[in-house]
Assembly symmetry: D2
Homo-oligomer: 346 residues x 4
């Protein structure tokens, strides 16, 4: 095996990323070394690229970025018992402590000691990456690489969609970024009665229809509240799946919820905003679920079920492919809004 590898790093504080040669990482006793077959871009990677306030507070350069990946295991540490050299794996990027009350009660996704690959330690925009064995999810050997790389991010979709019952229900999805597009395939697959989706990008609304939305609406061009109310005979929807983080979308979404309905919130509002708890939550008897990450590891098993059965087809979500060398073009494609998922091949 080579001793050096290509990697995209944040070399020092400030905007931008650069490709460079670094040492192939060493494998600890509980770790596996993975040759990256594909890695995809998440909004988090854009935050780091642009060096926004969140990135300034969290990232400690130098750091190899990227946390969505699949690849082949090429070496394992001496205490590794389940994963073997040659396994084709996808990574769960959240490395949790295993000893806190959350980890010990099936809620590792809110472990306060979480370390994230590509954020708190070296990541996957590289030829190799090292992970704890626990974070390597073994795929069927014949799983398409483009599908395998999506799983970590798809896990957010699954966690959101499975937070409440959707079968036979009217569902509004606000925001059609990649996580939402993958989620639409689930909402369709589990037998929702009707699916309304909103976004300000016409490109993404087109993908939303491909993935399962029955009706798509652009709040920049039309009155979403009026349109959904009309389409539902004045009733509104049973479930809101909020994926945008935009205060206006959140407000519209709650307004459209029927009394006794359920709001599932994954999108992150950039700042506190005026919210009418009395009229939008309390008087209506609404239940709200805040969603973060993926359940470890329940969500991964649910993903396996959805993907193995073929009820969900994620392929249309991958709209752009680049070699790792062209990471800047890839980041631009991602930032444009005229994209689904963007995949890099080292």
């Amino acid at each position: 095996m080579a001793e050096k590898m290509k990697a995209v790093i944040k070399a020092h504080p400030g905007p931008g990323l650069e490709m460079t040669m670094v040492d192939v990482p060493t494998v600890g006793p509980g770790d596996v070394l993975v040759r990256v077959k594909a890695t995809s871009i998440c909004g988090t990677d854009l935050h780091i690229y642009r060096w926004d306030p969140w990135a300034q507070g969290r990232i400690r350069p130098p750091l190899i970025v990227g946390h969505e990946l699949c690849g082949e295991v090429v070496a394992v540490g001496e205490r590794v018992t389940q994963v073997q050299v040659g396994d084709f794996i996808s990574a769960e990027s959240h490395i949790v402590c295993g000893t806190c009350v959350y980890c010990r009660t099936g809620r590792g996704h809110i472990c306060p000691n979480t370390q994230i690959i590509g954020v708190d330690r070296d990541g996957a925009f590289a030829e190799y990456v090292v992970l704890p064995e626990e974070n390597a999810w073994i795929n069927p050997p014949d799983m398409p690489v483009e599908l395998a790389v999506l799983q970590e991010n798809f896990g957010n979709s699954v966690h959101t969609a499975f937070a409440t019952d959707l079968s036979a229900r009217k569902v509004l999805v606000t925001g059609c970024g990649p996580v939402s597009l993958m989620m639409l395939a689930i909402v369709k697959a589990v037998g929702a009665r009707s699916i309304y989706a909103t976004d300000i990008s016409s490109y993404r609304l087109g993908l939303a229809r491909t993935m399962g939305a029955d009706v798509t609406l652009n709040p920049a061009k039309e009155d979403v509240v009026a349109a959904v109310r009309q389409a539902t005979e004045g009733e509104g929807v049973d479930v809101l799946l909020e994926m945008s983080g935009a205060p206006s979308a959140i407000r519209d979404g709650f307004r459209l919820l029927k009394d006794g309905g359920v709001a599932v919130l994954l999108g992150i509002p950039p700042a506190p905003f005026e919210f009418d708890l009395a009229n939008e939550v309390i008087f209506k008897g609404i239940t709200v679920y805040g969603i973060i990450g993926r359940r470890l590891w329940e969500t991964w098993y649910q993903m396996r079920g959805l993907l193995n059965s073929g009820v969900v087809d994620l392929r249309p979500v991958v709209t752009h492919r680049f070699p790792l060398d062209k990471f800047e073009e890839a980041l631009e494609a991602m930032a444009s809004g005229n994209s689904g998922k963007v995949v890099l091949f080292p």
Copy 2:
């Protein structure tokens, strides 16, 4: 309107049914009078026809039988407020008291004061039937008659399928009678990972494949436990939906359940039988749901969602159609096992 009508009645204790002319029923202040457009045959009707011990204990002749129906409202009582003459309705056959603790807490399906149409009072194998307004479910005017008549029975399917989460799960369905066949369409629609179905009728296994089963097995011809275990890599299934009432099917089904799994029981065993609670329920940490009837009226709203969205197509389930006059041929078709749902047209 005519004063007399054709009706299929149990005239006096003993086997058999006969067609005769009777008075069109009168409409009480809270009732609606329905001109029957279609009525379908349930296992209960066969019990009454054959005059088995259950029927001997419950039925008080003379009685017009039949409880699955759809039709047009032709008259309403003076206190009726929601249903109107001309409405196209399906009937919920369980007339509940509305005042007991069950009715007052959303569990009317277990009301101890229930009266069943065609069992405890005159039923639907006739040109007209009278119902309390509450039991008339208003359909879209353009709903196909053959679909509308199935709804009461389909409600059992919905109640069973929605008792637990099926999405992304491995599901075993034991018994493929009409309720089960309709339920298979739901199990498919809500994204089960894989669906195994068993029956001793090859005809019904063929219908089961049409309705959504991935694998069908005949316990008279093959070892169901071995086959499902192999198909699931030794694991077994997450959920058992037991629709047969056969002790051997129940035992096999529990044996195939994974630890921590869920059994939903709708099929009625004809008598007590030896059951291994220790090994099949307790040590495995199984949850068991006994299912009776339909939830009033939650199940009906869920049906509306499933049927309006088009995710469930029940049409292949109707395999036989007869005019009401040929009710004996229809009962034979139903008894043969080589049938799905049998519909009668008065």
Copy 3:
């Protein structure tokens, strides 16, 4: 029976209430006439007395106010079947339609056609009041009048407390008005691990300790967030029961919730306010339940269980008693904050 009776009415738009003589109401076919034995004061009655914007928009004078009551049935309509003359009843003040999707699925508490006694039709600050039979909850004949009159309001407490599991959990209760004080008895009775309660009235904090709070805190005098965090070894609480509607209490409450915790909101914020959905709900994976009214009739059966078993003792909550003639003194006592529940006797 007398033809005239004393009643406290809102005679015409504007502040104030007055006592006058009016006709004893007539009993419709589905109604019961109740001789009021006790009636208690709710915050709603104060809104009507003061003629605030909500009252101006909702109340149509002339109107007899008051909706919390117990009394003896003295006449019943011709169609009444369950309630009998002589029954000792408490009233559910929400008269629901019984035919909408909410009423038909066990969620009548969010029926959009609700009429409230003492708000939308004549109420209980009078010698007699008329109710639909369905709204008369039959009490044991020997139930103390002061306990019976509290039940409608206690139903809010039960609905809030039973929205999530409290046993073995750390619970924060923000706001100690009468509904909250009664709820504290439940939180104690169901085995909470520790109970923290806040209010700006020292009088009510004293009652809170009587009713079951382990630690009481006055946010006007101390730093609630710091104090609860210290008492919980930095952890915070598992459950927030928000009863105040005060934005500062809501913010503090969410801040003190552990990741993965549950917030139950009954208090009504008077206006929209800045809320940090990202940090207080989404990143923490919080579940929020908006609570309105009582579940019809599940909550009433739960109340019966709590009160019959003796695990909950509500008597200390009644701090003031007045004859109906002194309704103005009673309203002042209620408005002072130095009171629990204020009861009037016609």
Copy 4:
């Protein structure tokens, strides 16, 4: 530290146990060595003592028996990170794999690779025992030893009681062995409406009353079904907690369940028996939960909540105390039925 220690062992196949001197066990890299302060006797220990068919099939002598214990950590392996020398710990006796689907989804209590201390590897009827770090639950230093030793077994009580809501409900507990006695304290603490308990030992019924039962019944002397039905005005109970494993108790328990009720089964029937699934589960719409072990580690945190708050007092359950040398007398006391929990002190 000594090199030899006293231990109670099954030396070779056949009835009986003997005390002998053995080597103090060595500490693996992930293990802790515990000086046993107290150990208590479980029914499992009696099975091993008597060498019944279950024991013959499972136990591989020579083996130190006993799995309920508390003690002080006196040495830790090199990879241990959380537990420290000097910690006062109780043991979870189920050592699970951590890598199967159950362990990875918060359901380690049904891990198929479980090894049990004192059953599959050396146990706690000894001066010292070795455990994986994960299985050492750190107690407050001042927790009474007699309370600390009960926790593993109390975990079964908690797991059973928390399987369903008990607050404001009528509850029947069949069988009053030690797990049941501890559970009665929880049923009381969480505000059950009324608690009926049955056993054939008058001694245990006396303890049941001490622990919280409102009414106790001896099925050897009276008709339990008639008595509970009378006490509940013909209604029966909302919840059955079945702790005996006796077929007659199970049948009576289901017969007494109200329609729509919940049965939680922990007692192990010794063999399959005739059970009327149709009338006792399906027609009544019953939910049944099979309970095994304790949830890892949710149940332990719930225990901490119950014990720290003081809402549950387990002290009356310990009825017999012996030095380890008198283990045979202790086993006899346990076998007599005239005992609660029997504790040994090495």
